[in-house]
């Protein structure tokens, strides 16, 4: 079963975990522990969103910092009637990312090789017993990373949200601020472009293996 946004799990005899909205309210009232709990819960997905969009851990860290600083300063502007805290955070992340990506696009290409200061995400792969399999897998991951980064931003973000973060079309539409139909059509087009790029990078991958 594909995973989507996970809610707090309830178990008999155990205290119920506070919802994001409750943690946010307590945070706004000055509860530092509530802030840390919300950070621990949501920071990884925010960071991964920025990482998968940019391919740069440094960029992702900067964006994550900006987003949570903004949450500390402007968290009172969150309106629960407009969506969830997770979608709110993703929306803030997306807004800041697009701004910085546009600025950096004018200075360098995002499809270039990783710089000395960047670590390829493939390097973080857990090693298996088979070094050859590791190498093949690592190369495959790097192909996909480059192919995703080569997509235009508006196609890239639907691939990242729907195919990498496992968000539903409705959740992605909420984050992107567009209709569900637009998300589906962009994803359709993005996947076709991705297939072309992967073929160009690694040979004909049209035939599924296994």
């Amino acid at each position: 079963m594909r995973a989507v946004d996970r809610a707090a799990m309830m178990m008999p005899g155990k205290p119920v975990a506070a919802s994001d909205e409750e943690l946010l309210q307590r945070m706004l009232d000055g509860d530092g522990d509530a802030f840390e709990a919300l950070y621990d819960r949501r920071q990884p997905s925010v960071y991964r969103f920025a990482l998968r969009m940019s391919g740069s851990p440094a960029f992702a860290e900067d964006i994550a910092q900006e987003v949570f600083l903004a949450l500390i300063r402007e968290g009172g502007m969150f309106d629960p009637s407009r969506g969830s805290v997770a979608a709110y955070l993703f929306g803030m992340t997306r807004h800041r990312m697009l701004r910085r990506l546009e600025r950096e696009r004018r200075m360098s290409s995002l499809t270039s090789e990783a710089t000395e200061n960047e670590v390829s995400v493939a390097d973080g792969l857990v090693a298996s017993d088979d070094p050859l399999e590791d190498a093949v897998r690592s190369e495959r991951v790097e192909w996909v990373r480059r192919a995703v980064l080569a997509l235009p931003v508006h196609y890239r973000e639907v691939v990242v949200l729907c195919s990498l973060h496992d968000f539903s079309y409705e959740t992605a539409a909420e984050i992107l601020g567009c209709p569900v139909g637009t998300v589906r059509s962009r994803l359709n087009r993005a996947r076709a472009m991705l297939a072309d790029k992967l073929r160009a990078l690694g040979g004909d991958r049209a035939t599924a293996t296994g």
Partner: protein, 284 residues
């Protein structure tokens, strides 16, 4: 199901997303029967598999622990400042029984800060408007006298207003262009507005009132700096001796001696009654 409809669902099939059971069965049955759609589904599944592997490779990625410490410090600093301001405002409102605005204690720190920013911006704008109004009122009551301003600058001489019988004390340079005013020592003469002429050196002895300036000087004809209509621009004025960089010659259309381009050159500015420079002549 036909190929067109299959196309709409192939992505969900490849990603194994939640689908209507009947639609799923129909799509899979179509893929078995249609070779093209079968290949399409295979291609989509390959892409989905690649993306799944990439997602797994980045699943554990997270920001370094130092970021949490930094943000917690920022959070504590933010709320310490907020507590201090809330305490101060609560004390002030407790001291005054009436006529004091109560700060909304239930509002977030962000809203309070936003209100403060708007207030400061409005106050700054109001002060700026007052300053501009005061300056305009002062200028209207006390128009700037170019003569007094120029007198402060140093070497200034007043040019007498021309009379119909006024004639130049020395003939103008034969090579001087008829465009623009040719400023003979006797005073300015009326000239129609023309484009800027190229200056030509002329040996003209300086005005006797400038005898205190020293040795005889050579000057060019006056080069107009503004488009002057009729005679209004030459009704009196002042001549001010200045020093300008030689590169100024370029802007006047004069050739620049590259060997001496870093030095300054003496010039006379003809300043009208309104304080605007009308013309310039070079002095050597």
């Amino acid at each position: 199901m036909d190929c067109r409809e299959f196309n709409r669902h192939v992505q969900d099939l490849a990603d194994d997303r939640l689908m209507d059971v009947m639609v799923r069965r129909s799509a899979l049955a179509h893929a078995v029967a249609c070779r093209a759609c079968s290949a399409l589904l295979a291609g989509e599944r390959a892409v989905a598999e690649d993306l799944r592997i990439y997602a797994e490779a980045t699943e554990t990625a997270s920001a370094p622990p130092r970021l949490k410490q930094t943000l917690r410090a920022a959070f504590d600093a933010q709320h310490s400042a907020a507590s201090a301001s809330t305490t101060a405002s609560a004390t002030a409102s407790a001291k005054s029984a009436s006529g004091v605005l109560d700060f909304p204690t239930g509002d977030s720190v962000a809203l309070r800060r936003q209100w403060t920013r708007w207030t400061l911006a409005a106050a700054a704008g109001f002060i700026a408007l007052l300053a501009v109004g005061a300056i305009l009122a002062t200028r209207r009551d006390n128009p700037i006298d170019p003569r007094s301003e120029m007198a402060k600058a140093g070497a200034v001489e007043a040019i007498p207003r021309p009379t119909p019988s006024a004639s130049p004390a020395s003939p103008p340079s034969p090579s001087s262009s008829p465009s623009g005013p040719s400023m003979a020592p006797g005073g300015p003469t009326t000239a129609p507005a023309r484009k800027r002429p190229r200056a030509q050196l002329a040996s003209v002895r300086s005005n006797a009132s400038r005898g205190s300036m020293g040795d005889a000087e050579e000057t060019t004809a006056f080069i107009p700096l503004t488009y002057m209509g009729g005679g209004a621009a030459t009704d009196g004025g002042l001549i001010v001796r200045v020093e300008v960089p030689r590169t100024t010659l370029l802007s006047l259309g004069l050739p620049l001696n590259l060997e001496r381009h870093t030095s300054v050159v003496k010039a006379d500015l003809l300043v009208g009654d309104d304080g605007i420079a009308r013309a310039i002549r070079l002095v050597e």
